[in-house]
């Protein structure tokens, strides 16, 4: 059974179409990054998956209909939205009590263990914690829940680089165990490149590209082309071309690496660069 399965998922807010017939399948044990510009429909898709909004089309998460079974579904799904959703008037100890009191799969000892590695005081109120600490607290709560699916919606927005790095490190080291599934959206794309198993680009409510990271690495290649080789390189039909410090970087999809190696240095492109290339091409269609 797929962890998330959507067919013809549609959602409109008034005349704005946020999701335009999305077909989606996320298998168990994947870490999927959903990448897209603002207003592309990322959050709408996540909110539909979490049962926060009604939608048209078919959607099953862990075999359940999220809209009609949200509270049941949340036994197996955890969710971190951006950093500002923890109730600010609650104390840290109360947050532990509460989650322990309502969540059958919460392991309080585990959460205490994660918190012990931070500087978070058990008697502090959430509003007294820094942004980074609130995220650490939320992550400690979520990682102590034995969930099958974890959804992260811009989880590290507004955090400094140390907290961001730590966030994904703990997630990989202390949480992810290949039987769980993680779906994440973020603008800090390159930070999660090594974390993901799959990447999905969305724009205008549609999935414009999806591939596994292994396929990504074998399929796409960037060449720093020496100026004299530029015409030759262009003949291989790059999907995108950009200038960095006076040198041309050409991005190829399924090109012959031996041919390209003669023209300059090869490397795997960053997700952000591919994103720009794909979006540039798609932007032209609109």
């Amino acid at each position: 059974m797929a962890c998330i399965e959507a067919r013809g998922l549609r959602k409109a807010f008034g005349s704005t179409i946020a999701l335009d017939g999305v077909d989606l399948r996320v298998e168990e044990g994947r870490i999927v990054g959903i990448i897209g510009p603002n207003g592309a429909g990322k959050s709408t898709a996540l909110h539909a998956i979490l049962g926060l909004i009604p939608y048209e089309g078919e959607l099953k998460v862990l075999g359940r209909d999220p809209w009609s079974e949200r509270d049941q579904l949340m036994r197996d799904v955890s969710f971190i939205a951006d950093v500002a959703v923890m109730p600010r008037g609650m104390r840290v100890s109360q947050a532990l009590d509460y989650v322990g009191g309502v969540h059958p799969r919460f392991d309080r000892g585990k959460a205490e263990g994660f918190l012990a590695k931070t500087n978070i005081n058990r008697t502090s109120k959430v509003r007294e914690l820094s942004k980074g600490m609130v995220t650490q607290l939320h992550l400690a709560l979520v990682m102590a829940i034995d969930a099958k699916l974890l959804v992260l919606d811009e989880p590290t927005i507004g955090l400094d680089i140390l907290y961001r790095k730590q966030f994904y490190d703990s997630l990989l080291n202390d949480y992810f165990d290949r039987s769980r599934t993680i779906v994440v959206t973020t603008h800090q794309v390159d930070e999660i490149q090594d974390v993901l198993t799959d990447v999905m680009f969305v724009n205008h409510g549609r999935i414009v590209m999806e591939c596994g990271m292994e396929e990504f690495e074998s399929r796409y290649v960037e060449v720093m082309v020496r100026p004299e080789n530029l015409p030759a390189a262009r003949a291989f039909k790059p999907m995108h071309e950009r200038q960095v410090f006076g040198r041309s970087i050409l991005l190829f999809d399924q090109a012959n690496r031996d041919d390209l190696a003669a023209l300059g240095d090869l490397r795997t492109p960053g997700i952000a660069d591919l994103f720009v290339a794909v979006m540039g091409n798609h932007g032209a269609d609109q």
């Binding site: 909110h47 104390r91 799969r105």
Partner: protein
Amino acid sequence: MTADPLVAREVEPSAQTRPMYWSIRRELWENRSVYAAPVVTACIMLFGFFISAITLPHRMRAAMADPGKLHGVVAMPYDTTAGLILVTAFLVGVFYCLDALHGERRDRSILFWKSLPVSDRTTVLAKIAIPLVILPLFSYAVILVTQLIILTANTIVLLGNSSQLAALYQNLKFVQLSIALLYAVIAIALWHAPLYCWLLLVSGWAKRAVFLWAVMPFLAIGVFTKIAFGSASFFTFLGDRLAGWFNKAFIAPQKGAPQLDPLAAMTPGTFLSTPSLWLGLVFAALCLAATIRMRRYREPM
């Protein structure tokens, strides 16, 4: 014993969860006014009545000849305590309801609450339980304790005068009073239920100006009917919704008539056969059902 972690994960969680209990607990954590306000009111009253207890023997002596007046002098601190704490609880309940489903959308914490396996029904019922169950019972307890402290203070002040002490206990049937008070607290909760449920509904619906949305429609209808038909009946209806419980649940004390025993003044039959009580409760239930349904659709603002 297998130590396979995959098997362990499939075992049904043994941890006992109590979503309703913890939902109410967290409402109290987040809204300390629910228990702080009645206590603060009680403390202020206690302070005042401690001072006035000093002059109690003097005032009782002046009223000894007139049983009606004497009853007034003796019972006043107890009635006032109960009345003011109940009014405090009412105000706390009103403002609690106005913010209950608006605040969680304003500060985005609704996303946190909805990320946990707690249904919208549990959440909404826990919220309405605050003004309908928690506040009345807690206020009742605070009133009882306050009245007991006042009674102790009065007793100590009157210890030197056995006839005044006897008059105190004759005019103050504490046990009957406590029972009548519990009855009153329940009657008020039932009577005000539609009001709280309406406020909760508006709190979940309005994007801003919750208080205005909650109050203005009624004022508008009242003013309109007054201007168009010269009828003040809608305002009478509103007044009845606020204070009408008393005349239905109790026999109102008559001027000059002998003071009724608190228990004899209770008229639960009349109260329970008042159609507007039941209409109000039906309205309350409809509001709650709508609120629960609406919370499914709610997102941060």
